[in-house]
């Protein structure tokens, strides 16, 4: 009885918090809402006309949607880099950052699911995929594994912060015996979601570009670089615009995580490039297409070389303590690293997998305006969800939001 009353008050208070704010906050939310509406309009066109309004074809049958999905699974998985030290290793520095990290994971997962739904040819029969109701091809299809782990991770990342915030809202301390097991589980789970997503591609003998044992580990390395890099940027913004205190020490510690992951990612990239180009086989054609173009088709060239340049530059900057410890330089490095990995783990990975086709056909892929509109709309939705979650969490953590009896 008491709890439901607190919950009711929490919902009322958080609604109050998210609808009130500075002018800048209102403009931010209005812009996001407008972008989402444009995205929804684009999606309504896609529903009406079919996926033919996208740039995808029988040759390149996955495009921008699946690319963003893949990248965002990595961002969601990266929340674990904050959870582990905070809850399991009891590193106090990360404590403020971890709620933000988990909020980011929730937003990223919602975006992931939205991208998958946007990519579906028949969203009205998606219930066929619900276990128990439809027919769930488990354990054969890696996509069913992905559905399970993503939704499980979503539940974990909603319930742990919710429990902590719910306790703090009432002015009580959260009981570590309740949330620590969940936190430990989510550490393994995060590795799981990204590995499973990598297996989705890795397990296809038809696509030599993906069919490599390095794909899974490389997914993890790049995720643990891009995700925390985004968290650093978000913490920087939160620090500037809210009263939420994030110490320099915290940001510098996360930066160390980013640095190590970026270095490992670069080593793996070198290993991959060596394998593809030292003794090129028939199976290296996709890599040739990606890095040098095939038959004069060079659509991805500017993208991938931008990504490689930014990636190397960011890793070099992060490696030098002096540069990394300068926050302005750090933010710049994190930003370019995030962009680099978005390209590399997004369409830099998905599109070349389809080129050349099974019989060597080279048909390029260019996303259409509608596809880009839906994509930006989903990103806006993610930002919207994250803003709501973060604003409530910050309200509770800064003791502004409290249950009044």
């Amino acid at each position: 009885m008491g709890r439901s009353k607190v919950l009711k008050s929490l919902i009322k208070d958080s609604l109050d918090t998210i609808t009130h704010g500075s002018k800048k906050y209102h403009i931010w939310m209005a812009v996001l809402t407008l972008t989402m509406l444009i995205g929804m309009y684009c999606y309504s066109i896609q529903l009406e006309e079919g996926l033919s309004v996208t740039g995808m074809s029988d040759s390149v049958s996955w495009g921008l949607y699946i690319s963003n999905f893949t990248f965002l699974v990595g961002v969601a998985a990266a929340a674990v880099m904050l959870v582990m030290p905070t809850y399991v290793l009891k590193d106090i520095d990360f404590k403020q950052a971890v709620l933000i990290g988990e909020g980011l994971a929730v937003a990223a997962l919602i975006m992931c699911l939205a991208f998958v739904v946007a990519d579906m040819g028949g969203p009205s029969v998606l219930w066929h995929m619900i276990p128990g109701w439809g027919v769930f091809n488990f354990p054969n299809s890696m996509l069913t594994w992905d559905v399970l782990v993503l939704n499980g991770y979503l539940i974990l990342n909603i319930s742990i912060p919710f429990y902590i915030l719910f306790r703090h809202y009432q002015g009580k301390d959260a009981n570590p015996k309740v949330y620590i097991p969940g936190a430990i589980l989510s550490v393994f789970w995060a590795v799981g979601i990204h590995l499973v997503t990598a297996f989705l591609y890795q397990g296809l003998q038809a696509k030599p570009f993906w069919n490599t044992a390095l794909l899974g580990p490389r997914f993890l390395a790049s995720a643990f670089a891009a995700g925390p890099a985004l968290i650093i940027l978000i913490l920087a913004i939160i620090r500037t615009f809210t009263e939420f205190k994030v110490e320099n020490k915290t940001i510098k510690k996360i930066a160390l995580v980013v640095t190590v992951a970026a270095q490992i990612n670069l080593i793996m990239l070198i290993s991959e490039l060596f394998k593809e180009f030292y003794a090129p086989t028939h199976h290296s054609e996709s890599a040739y297409y990606l890095f040098f173009g095939l038959d004069g088709k060079t659509a991805l060239l500017p993208w991938i070389w931008t990504a490689i340049t930014l990636n190397v530059l960011a890793t070099v900057i992060l490696t030098f303590h002096k540069l990394r410890n300068n926050l302005k330089v750090l933010y710049f490095a994190c930003f370019i690293l995030f962009i680099a990995i978005w390209i590399e783990k997004g369409f830099g990975l998905i599109v070349p997998g389809f080129i050349p086709g099974p019989y060597g056909k080279i048909a390029e892929y260019t996303p259409t305006g509608i596809e880009i509109g839906v994509t930006i709309g989903i990103w806006a939705m993610g930002a919207f969800v994250f803003t709501i979650l973060a604003k409530t969490a910050i309200g509770i953590e800064t003791k502004k939001l409290r249950y009044k009896k």
Binding site: G121, G134, V135, A206, Y359
Partner: protein, 373 residues
């Protein structure tokens, strides 16, 4: 349109552009609505109408398809919630006393079709029930009767296919026959079969082959090789499907339940043989070209956003006939039959010719062999 059309004449929109005798409605003589309307138009309106009709006939990208057509916003939003409305509509119609019986029946059918199960797991009764519904629904919508089969695989049958590279001359009669038989979308010119034109002396070089030629065949210094779904015995596409909407039947056919497919296209990425096709927009077959002899797993009319593929013409093969491509081939390059029947031609080919399969290293075990004389 002549009856002796080559496969490349299938682009109906472009045919219309070339055919100056006919107007937008497709009639070659007499009046149609659009032409009579145009007489009453002012010059400016007439130009605009011409622009629109030209725009209709040139291929467009995603933006063009949407913004260059007259967009009925109401219908767009209506379809946005289509799946919800099906349910709501069905309820309201079946409760309404005024609606006529056909509309009521149609709503009932739509409702049952939306929430039916996976064909693979249906009992024979359920299979014939859904087939009956689909036949009745087509009858209500078009007034035409189709025959649709739900015939299961027969015992001791395993279908296999052989392709004689020496004989194929690249006429593409198989491609034409396949499209006419299987009711593929005419707008996107969907084809299950691809004929690869290869240069002599280069070996089986698919990379340099041309699968989209428009010249007289057989071309000097070239040979031809067809590919389609190979109906693998260990099909990767079946493994990856998250909802078991595609599976291998007892007689070896790899089929799709079009109504169960969610359109994720994972099978397409998993197929090493380019054997699968996706309906990127609503597939359209002119009513007079529809093949009315259908099978649930085969050539029945598809919908937007689902996968489809070669089924070795399940509607024919399970009725004891050869697939349309085999029947249409003028050179006898295509051989089809029951691999479990020691007297079949396909068995003779496998036993007496040096046969090979494509990408055997992938372990997919295709049931499609190539050989040379």
């Amino acid at each position: 349109m002549s009856n002796t059309k080559k496969w490349f004449s299938l682009n109906l929109r472009n045919t219309k552009t070339a055919n100056n005798d006919s107007c937008g409605c497709g009639k070659t003589s007499g009046a149609c609505d659009s032409s009579t309307n145009q007489h009453n138009l002012s010059d400016a309106d007439f130009d605009a109408a011409v622009d629109t009709s030209i725009a209709d006939e040139t291929p467009k990208d995603g933006f063009g398809q949407v913004f260059d057509v007259q967009m009925d916003r109401r219908s767009a939003f209506k379809k946005l919630t289509a799946s919800l409305l099906i349910g709501a509509g069905a309820v309201s119609t079946s409760c309404s006393v005024i609606a006529d019986d056909d509309a009521k029946e149609k709503a009932q059918i739509d409702w049952e079709e939306q929430f039916k199960g996976n064909y693979k797991l249906m009992t024979n009764d359920e299979k014939s029930a859904t087939v009956d519904r689909l036949v009745r629904s087509y009858q209500i919508r078009t007034g035409k009767t189709i025959s649709m089969s739900s015939k299961n695989a027969e015992e001791d049958v395993l279908f296999g296919y052989a392709f004689n590279i020496s004989k194929c001359q690249g006429y593409m009669d198989c491609v034409n026959a396949c499209i006419e038989e299987n009711n593929q979308d005419r707008n996107s010119e969907m084809q299950y079969i691809r004929i690869h034109e290869m240069k002599d002396g280069k070996g089986l070089n698919f990379r340099e082959a041309d699968d989209n030629y428009y010249h007289e065949v057989p071309a000097e210094g070239h040979f031809y090789m067809g590919t389609q779904c190979f109906h693998c015995d260990n099909p990767p596409c079946v493994e990856v499907c998250p909802v078991q909407a595609t599976w291998r039947e007892e007689d070896g056919l790899v089929v799709v339940d079009y109504d169960w497919c969610v359109g994720c296209r994972y099978c397409m990425a998993a197929c090493p043989y380019d054997g699968r096709r996706f309906n990127w927009s609503k597939p359209e077959v002119p009513e007079k070209e529809v093949n009315h002899n259908q099978h649930y797993l085969g050539n029945r009319l598809r919908k937007k956003g689902v996968m489809e593929k070669c089924t070795f013409c399940v509607q024919r093969s399970r009725a004891g006939q050869n697939p349309a491509c085999v029947e249409a081939c003028p050179t006898g390059a295509r051989i089809f039959g029951n691999l479990l029947d020691p007297e079949s031609t396909i068995r003779w080919v496998l036993e007496n010719k040096k046969v090979f399969r494509l990408k055997e290293d992938l372990g997919t075990e295709p049931k499609f062999w190539y050989f040379m004389d």
